[in-house]
Subunit: 504 residues, 2 copies
């Protein structure tokens, strides 16, 4: 008999629809009437604010400063870097007019044609590079370590909430350095910050690596990424860090006088993570009852649920809950006060509980007349089954609360790591490769699959087969074993195995 | 003999140019190659982050939640509220295409014409109203208290950094309520938050009031604002809070079933403050030596300046400074750790000191071999003259540091309040009114003027004279005396004096 679940369809029944339903049930976001653009609803935005706070702290602690650059980019800026414009031309929102007028039929139409059109930034290498060309004169002005929190736009014909939207929110770092070594060091330093953000905070284990040449950012010399495995076995590129060499420095004329008095172009990097991470968070941890949030990311870590039908008892239950709320808020976890809320709504008990399960709150504390009398609490953890609840003496629960959050944070990472390992295969022949990815899914059903680790030498034949299988090389792992072998597509020599997967 | 100043021209010589030079000397922002759009540089952005943190905390503490809505607005949304579109049509950036293509001459041009153009949001009443129409069904869904931190665009032909730029950053609150009383209460509650933000944090005294009908937000029933006086006597509208009645509810069809089971339109509000506040901050406190920051807003509250030419002494001075840095960082002011930095650069002493004066850091601590030997510090306060520095025993300075910041915060507010009072006149005749504003300034020179408090009944004759004088009614003060009188322009009855000023 099928278990009753809060989300329908389940992951096994229809993974893409499950994803949409989790978002809806947790009230995270919705599609807007603007093509491909989403509305990030308060609960979803609160998660984004947590990601921002954590990463912003990391970036500031490593010497980066925030700034803000124009949302519009002049067309002639885009023309300066050939690969860059080629990479983004097909998805640019173009501003051509600067006012509206009412036409003869009483309808609004664009007016005030601009001499030069602008595009809404798909990314800001050009406009920030142009600013750097003014800011950098001498080696004393370097390194320049700038970050921006902003909205960007890449026109999207097949949008999916958080994963692929025309407008999304992100941070984009842009740095300039006096030497290629320093720039490369920066690129890798940020990749490590992203890895910590993912693993230690979002509880998403990731593989760090370099992108193969065809998968590079348009204009980059080398692109690094972190790749995570979703529960359908697909890969989600969760953050990228680019070593741009002198490509943008030359395009935007960013040069400096070095210590020897010579004029040189700077070496730059750029890197970003976006609201896509929320998609990764959902698809890594959530289950058939809805969202599951790691405590470090949860806007509410503990929710108190006073439950009582009797009006007299209600006042007692509420007073007891209020005292507990104050008590818990004085505790801390990871250097911050516990984020505890109380659901004082008139919803019925079961409704209250399921509402919080679907929203992914890590710890639920049910409080009824029985608990008040026994000075206890009835506690459910989101990393366990909904019915698996435990009665704790109140004092003991308070004493254990922070520890419980740490346990949940740890258990989610362990579970995700185990899943990733169990669904990663060493593959040594093309037949095995095809079989591994054939069984993955038919776009609605999850039936296995994951990361295939195989040798590869980037030849054309390989790309053709991959295109047929809808599989892409995800990255060349930085921490991978250096075990030379033969490319499974061509038999040519390969230095190490790389990660293949179907991807979002 | 003229005193030497760090900023040239001085306020008295040329106020608008002084303003630009203060921004440049403090490295707050610069014009970009994108028409009317500014680049907010790291020091300027750090001030914006302080404003955000303070106001965001206030808004959350009063039950508001953040969310994010699309940057683009479909044209047909704008058509739904007649006054609204009339108010913004002339300054809309219009997106008409969704990709770029290379034409026969090898130049990029817009391609992929959209079926319906979009505008970049000048404000989000329509797109948020559309979302509210889906979110609100019953009285149980109300009130809805939503805020958004975002960029907006209003095409600007005569831009001025921070004060008037095509793109600016702001927060916009949008709320929906079941009754007009509740909506009005919300409008005024936020006006009070803005007043506290300005007076208690930015040290800018403001006058709260209602806008006269012609100055209302397009589509509002009533617009409230806070008005501040700049050092040239002009008014800066520093924040607005609008009671929108049911105008947008009807336009965007936001209705609910009330407790009696009847279908009703909601009552809405909207309110915002923007990066314009930074312009207000500059023009309220800065002097002829550059920016002056109130401690609550200063990204760095205390700067340590180790100064030594001798390499051997340098190590000692640096070690002493480092210890002091750690000691000061353990202190707190207004519930937060002191924000203390150390300028370890190779700049010479005088250069270091003037750099920090121009950036507006509230407290400068110079440390040389003499101070190390005496276990003392040489302290300058930004609210005093640059040469007015005092030697303190180190321990005593540490003990007094937080108090000193509170004193500076207080002295800036007192000074600004005194200036405002001294430049506010009760005016009872049209001749006096003309004389008061004639002497104000000729757009470059400050020679007096300020706020004129006069009776007014909003008749056409008055508006003509005001247009000639380039004076506008700023607001009808909420806290003003209810002393009936006669309009100085028409002699008709007036309920109370209102504030007139030249304005930014």
């Amino acid at each position: 008999m099928a278990k009753k679940t809060a989300i329908s369809p389940t992951r096994a029944e229809n993974y893409p629809d499950w994803y949409q339903e989790v978002i809806k049930a947790a009230d995270l976001a919705e599609n807007s009437p603007v093509r491909g653009c989403m509305i990030v609803k308060p609960w979803g935005y609160a998660i984004w604010e947590r990601i921002q706070a954590i990463l912003d702290g990391m970036l500031k602690a490593t010497g980066h400063v925030n700034a803000y650059f124009p949302v519009l980019i002049p067309l002639h800026f885009m023309e300066k870097e050939a690969q860059h414009v080629e990479g983004f031309a097909k998805e640019c929102a173009v501003v051509t007019h600067h006012r509206l007028t009412v036409d003869e039929n009483g309808k609004l139409r664009p007016d005030g044609l601009l001499e030069e059109p602008y595009i809404i930034r798909p990314t800001s290498e050009t406009v920030i590079g142009d600013a750097f060309s003014r800011w950098v004169q001498s080696y004393r002005d370097l390194p320049l370590l700038v970050n921006q929190w902003a909205n960007v736009m890449r026109w999207e014909l097949r949008p999916r909430l958080f994963l692929r939207t025309s407008e999304f929110l992100w941070q984009e770092g842009h740095t300039a350095h006096a030497t290629p070594e320093e720039a490369l060091e920066e690129t890798l330093k940020v990749l490590d910050l992203y890895t910590d953000l993912a693993a230690k905070n979002l509880a998403i284990p990731v593989i760090k690596g370099t992108k193969t040449p065809r998968e590079r950012f348009p204009g980059a010399v080398e692109t690094y990424s972190i790749e995570a495995m979703m529960q359908d076995g697909r890969a989600l590129q969760s953050g990228t860090s680019h070593f741009l060499g002198q490509n943008f420095a030359k395009a935007m004329d960013v040069s400096f006088q070095n210590q020897e008095g010579q004029q040189q172009f700077v070496w730059t990097t750029s890197w970003g993570v976006s609201t896509r991470l929320i998609g990764g968070l959902i698809m890594t941890h959530s289950d058939d009852n809805g969202l599951v949030l790691p405590p470090k990311l949860a806007p509410t870590q503990i929710i108190l649920l006073p439950i009582s039908r009797d009006p007299e008892q209600k006042a007692e239950v509420m007073a007891y809950s209020d005292r507990l709320l104050q008590e818990l808020r004085e505790l801390s976890y990871e250097g911050e006060s516990l984020r505890v809320e109380l659901d004082a709504s008139d919803r019925r008990g079961g409704e209250k509980v399921w509402h919080q399960i679907k929203r992914g709150v890590p710890v639920r504390v049910e409080i009824g007349p029985k608990e008040v009398e026994a000075d206890s609490v009835f506690v459910g953890r989101r990393d366990k089954e909904p019915q698996d609840r435990v009665t704790w003496p109140r004092a003991e629960f308070v004493q254990r609360a922070s520890e419980m959050l740490a346990e949940i944070q740890g258990s989610l990472l362990t579970r995700a790591r185990t899943f990733q390992q169990e669904n990663t295969a060493i593959i040594d022949s093309l037949d095995d490769f095809k079989e591994f990815f054939a069984q993955t899914h038919d776009d609605t059903l999850v039936t296995g699959g994951g990361f295939g680790m195989a040798h590869w030498n980037d030849a054309a034949e390989g790309h053709e087969i991959l295109a047929q299988l809808k599989v892409t090389p995800r990255c060349v792992p930085l921490d991978g074993d250096q075990d030379p072998g033969e490319c499974i597509f061509t038999g040519k020599p390969s230095k190490q195995r790389i990660v293949f997967a179907k991807a979002y």
